[in-house]
Symmetry: C3
Subunit: 472 residues, 3 copies
Amino acid sequence: MDLCDREKNTNVRISLPAVCFVWQIAMIILFGVFIRYNEESSPFWIEHRKANNISSDIENDFYFRYPSFQDVHVMIFVGFGFLMTFLKRYSFGGVGFNFLIAAFGLQWALLMQGWFHSLDYSDGKIKIGVENLINADFCVAGCLIAYGAVLGKVSPVQLMVLTLFGITLFAVEEYIILNLIHARDAGGSMVIHTFGGYYGLSISWMLYRPNLSQSNRLQGSVYHSDVFAMIGTLFLWMFWPSFNSAITDHGDGQHRAAINTYLALASTVLTTVAISSLFQKHGKLDMVHIQNSTLAGGVAVGTAAEFMLMPYGSLIVGFCCGIISTLGYIYITPFMEKHLKIQDTCGIHNLHAMPGVIGGVVGAITAAAASEAVYGHEGLINTFDFEDAFKNMTPTRQGGHQAAGLCVAICFGVGGGIIVGCILRLPIWGDPADDNCFDDEPYWEWACEHIPSGKMTIMSHPVWLTPAPILT
Amino acid sequence: MDLCDREKNTNVRISLPAVCFVWQIAMIILFGVFIRYNEESSPFWIEHRKANNISSDIENDFYFRYPSFQDVHVMIFVGFGFLMTFLKRYSFGGVGFNFLIAAFGLQWALLMQGWFHSLDYSDGKIKIGVENLINADFCVAGCLIAYGAVLGKVSPVQLMVLTLFGITLFAVEEYIILNLIHARDAGGSMVIHTFGGYYGLSISWMLYRPNLSQSNRLQGSVYHSDVFAMIGTLFLWMFWPSFNSAITDHGDGQHRAAINTYLALASTVLTTVAISSLFQKHGKLDMVHIQNSTLAGGVAVGTAAEFMLMPYGSLIVGFCCGIISTLGYIYITPFMEKHLKIQDTCGIHNLHAMPGVIGGVVGAITAAAASEAVYGHEGLINTFDFEDAFKNMTPTRQGGHQAAGLCVAICFGVGGGIIVGCILRLPIWGDPADDNCFDDEPYWEWACEHIPSGKMTIMSHPVWLTPAPILT
Amino acid sequence: MDLCDREKNTNVRISLPAVCFVWQIAMIILFGVFIRYNEESSPFWIEHRKANNISSDIENDFYFRYPSFQDVHVMIFVGFGFLMTFLKRYSFGGVGFNFLIAAFGLQWALLMQGWFHSLDYSDGKIKIGVENLINADFCVAGCLIAYGAVLGKVSPVQLMVLTLFGITLFAVEEYIILNLIHARDAGGSMVIHTFGGYYGLSISWMLYRPNLSQSNRLQGSVYHSDVFAMIGTLFLWMFWPSFNSAITDHGDGQHRAAINTYLALASTVLTTVAISSLFQKHGKLDMVHIQNSTLAGGVAVGTAAEFMLMPYGSLIVGFCCGIISTLGYIYITPFMEKHLKIQDTCGIHNLHAMPGVIGGVVGAITAAAASEAVYGHEGLINTFDFEDAFKNMTPTRQGGHQAAGLCVAICFGVGGGIIVGCILRLPIWGDPADDNCFDDEPYWEWACEHIPSGKMTIMSHPVWLTPAPILT
């Protein structure tokens, strides 16, 4: 009997190359029509510098933001990618599809965000520089979060569709929240994490698989896949201060955002460990919590990182998030799967959605509590951007705007996810059968035909069919 | 028979959460009372900038030090963490407990170091910025070094205690060496590595386990755990130039420290390979040496990295350390275990303690040999900080002070280690029995109950009980 | 029968330590005679700064280039190193020998490149700073590329010889291309990738092993070795913008090079996935393509990254390279092995040689098409360095010079590779027998003697002798 006999057709040989080619060619054409270098990345920079009395090349925005950009880039590709290698037989899909959709998403994000934020009305071109690259990576993060909820249950073509719509929704939502509502969201607690979390959860709800327990045998980790996942966890954890400070104001804004994030994350680790140990028999730690909940503090401090949250405020935010996120893994994820029909492979509800909402609330409170005594006159205007059309904003009103922004993020996430989920339910995308979920076999080339069949039974089953606690 | 029957109680379900919660709450309170942003990370930066005629935000210390900070951060969490994943069944504990104690330690370090170095006497607050974050990471490094000696033999609660006292001792020792004695130690050869090394060795001596050979079967690596450890090695090796230059003077100080460290490390690799090959049958290389001894040059060049060590001087330091460190693994570690009752899991004596002492000596010699001919008049004052109370220092006297600093580091390491070791011998910490050492089982949740018992014997034993040379 | 009985002597116990010691001592002497700090890394920087009216330490070249340097450093050691861990039993050799030859190579490169580019004629010394460190890492990259072709088939001593000659040839070739011919090659498409690729292929041709298929069983990956290789892939991919911008002009030059590379790489991922899926039965993806071909865009955009390639131009270059490189793995590598007697373990022809040539051609075209309308008057001079002896260059002529540079790189690669290949065929280097290829056993210490022989047969063979599809 052929091992590869499956009940559903997972052949993406036509659809995947077609989607990749068509979309990449579309990108080339749209970039050709719309995208140009901005004045800091074009050769006219020298003349621009002299004309504006800028004394040195070091004041090019590149030097303010490039180190942070590279850290964010690592978070997107290694951080998210390796965090998703924890499944015993889906490591290729975790890191590989993450790579694919991030590479596509950032191109589309440059266009979408460019139209909203970087369009030069004099010539109708989008002018890009390093800050656009960071924002494109941020935009992609929203979709990668959503991928976490459906990890192992969708085809790469579905992921491309999820990303195309996700980026589009993101750019619109971001424009509404940041520009129309004038909320501040440096680290994207609302714009990235809340949106991405609810977007993914809604999609997963639409794609509910009632009989998924059949392939439960693959929905776990082995020893070394958990160590691989720790690579992702640590790079996310370490570089989160760069994430939250990457696009904040030059000078004290970036400085303060990095400090606040550093502190919140440290605090989260301790409470995650505490709760993980407290709720297990014999006080043992659970790798799932260590891999995920330790990051919740970085999410929750995103909005307020650039504000005067104060060092102890950051610790408190991290403290609460470690507890809530870990309890989420213990109680809420099983509850959602059983009663709400939401299957959340990576637990993004605990790592992104809930901490994102907390981050939005913390941001609203911190903004409402701002005063000239704490920020200074210029500092207040500068931090909250009380300029131009928003010259008459007050901190209290700003707090209200922050809260409104949070609502928009949730609505876009839930609404967008339901619509996109409907599209993804069409039977044309080559998604795997329940039996094939969490398995690299349908989409990745194996050299499995060389295995002597006798040894196959003896060797391979105990290794990957059981949770395999002690393997190498 | 229950596989989990053990002679000693390793249940930390009460103690670990209790310690985490109590200490984290204490941190929040102390941060609330003491810690504030400094003028470069507060919104008053704009006004400060204008008042001090600083022309651009790029002169905020953030831009001088943040890239180095992030590199150091990677060394602490991925470098140290993955270096300790080499044991076949203790990878979770290696990277996970490293994560836990580093996240706790850096908070306590901000306070302890803050009281000594960053206290603003006008309002009694500690004012923090990016340099404090780097120093907190440095401080944590001392404790992670100590963890290397006791890896696999202690409970997480013991590690928290080790860290609490380690950070405290570090801050005092550092204040004495840098401020009272006025020794220079940019890369922490003395302050971090010598102290941390002897602190860990003394603790390990106090916790000597005469019957540990019983669990020898687990005190080794498997193929892929050695590859994981190489991740740690390489990130430490690559980012060591950032470590040694992170807090040196702006401009030439950081520049020179990075160059010297880069060169010393390159040289160490060659002599490590040479000695490793020379002392093995058939000239084969030993992964333990490649993972550890290649880093010794970075340790030894720490103190002198900012001085005019000269490029060839750096190569010579690296040359010697590669030889000494590798010979240490071959001869001294077994000797210490057999005759001195010091069990040193990671060989920190060869990687940190000895190279640290060499670094202190090299620093003393280089300082004593300094002259205005080599440094220039301003350069000499600037590099050695011959200002204020130390206006009349001469290079020769500075050399003496360096040597005195080294002695203080050794004393604090040995003395502190013995005291803390005594505390850790109390039978209340949930440490593992000899049989349970180097095993993740006591402290990490396994899904082991699902393994069909028959297959367990067949499958798992050869895989992890033997050194498993050829697995995947 | 002894498992370690081999037909060829792979004992390097004398030769490897001898080479390491002799060469390292030679480095120390040569560094002592020739290498000094430059004015930005010496303590005279303070006086230099004041004399030159440089307002701040931040204008030290260190702050322009150090973040990029560290990214490049990661690419060299983790990127190249882990990319070569994909073989099931040669991960130690992949990452370990990469480490060894890079650490040696960068010292020799500092000297060789220093003589050509950084010699201070006033005192006959080479003055080094951070840019020299980057260039040394670049120079090493050429040799690591060559290592990819012979991976698993040579001894460490042979690799040291390959590196010594490779660095020497590189420095001469680079001097001819950049200084005499005055071609521009910021990211080294020609100087690094074309040269390194053909150098490695020629050596592999000279070292052709007609009976190598005997050890084919080891020339493949296992599940987790492929995941390890993805660490290498991703760090190369993410940091490639830093590679191509590391030594370009301050300001817009670095900014533009980073943007172009970022875009080219994103585009490559999509076409690689498309072709990989299109050419496999059932549309499955092949890990070899994902690990390697996704990087081709970064290679091909190297020369033109600092030019006005335009964002869409970068996408087009990446688009083509993803296709060509993946097709290369499918058709050209097997063809070369069968008909041209070139065995290319990592497929460097597809990842470096072909994309490098494309990059040279793209660079020539982009340079020839340059105009003042696009670059501005000052921008054109600045970007192409039309100064001093080359004051009268025109873009068209520059295009010709670029093409000439490409030819020089190919000639040096092929010619140098043949000569060095001849040297490496001498029967004195301890290279492995065909049976021992792709096996860490000859050069790395195993604890294999402890395995109960009965279990050896049962356990280990299916695990590493078969392609082991489902292990952990």
